[in-house]
Subunit: 149 residues, 2 copies
């Protein structure tokens, strides 16, 4: 998996790395067991410090996305195996919270509910890599997202 960062971005480097790994997990480009570049090699590739990459990986480890073992490296974890119902409920609450914030700001800007929902449907389709109308299975829909952006 190719990881790229934007040094001029406001977003911290370690969060950019995190986002891209999460993105890879979401699209299926990264499967459980896949090896990720080592802390040192990725740091060299990106031209950043070792500790910055280490922090990104540590966050991903705390979130259950990867497993780190010294001497062996970093690999994608089987997140489904370590998912407690409480954790899922927390994720759901956080998502609901974030969606509410977006909807409120959209309304404050004069946007309509319909516009918000049509964008939500559009972006959900992009994230899941399907046409907005279809109803695919939930599991594994590898990469292939020829969306704009």
């Amino acid at each position: 998996m190719i990881i790229q960062i934007d040094l001029s971005s406001d977003e911290p480097i370690y969060l950019q790395i995190r986002s891209q790994v999460v993105h890879g997990v979401a699209t299926g480009e990264l499967q459980a067991g896949d090896a990720l570049p080592s802390v040192r090699s990725l740091a060299t590739d990106l031209g950043v410090n070792m500790h910055t990459v280490n922090k990104a990986y540590a966050v991903l480890r705390d979130e259950g996305y990867v497993a780190m073992r010294r001497g062996r490296g970093v690999m994608v974890a089987d997140r489904a195996a370590s998912l407690t119902p409480e954790a899922h409920s927390l994720d759901r609450d956080r998502l609901a919270d974030d969606l509410l914030k977006l909807a409120l700001e959209h309304r404050a800007r004069g946007g309509s509910r319909e516009e918000f929902l049509s964008l939500a449907i559009e972006q959900a389709a992009a994230a899941y890599g399907v046409a907005p109308g279809t109803t695919p299975g939930t599991t594994s829909n590898p990469a292939s997202n020829p969306t704009k952006r």
Copy 2:
């Protein structure tokens, strides 16, 4: 309008203030022309420094939500009047971007597209203060949101 802050929160104080004003604008609790507490008085009420409130108001001014004039105070702006089509398009792009991020993270956590969309519909309804089934007008739906949370 009553503004409250949580000093123990991770979110910066000035952004907490901003969010609550935006929330007020969204629900209609704050109408164009309404006066907001002065920088100094709100700072005293909240127990924070004047500059913290000033920064919050400055952000709101830059976003077009309020107008500040020295000697007179701060009032809610008529945002619709100062909304260029380009600005609206930018807002839309940002929202789409944020929604895509949320959808991708949701998928990375193993969540389904259907779950994401049902939450989006639910929270949009909460933000617009209507039952999820109805199709109300876009404009003015004052406060009244007896949702959980």
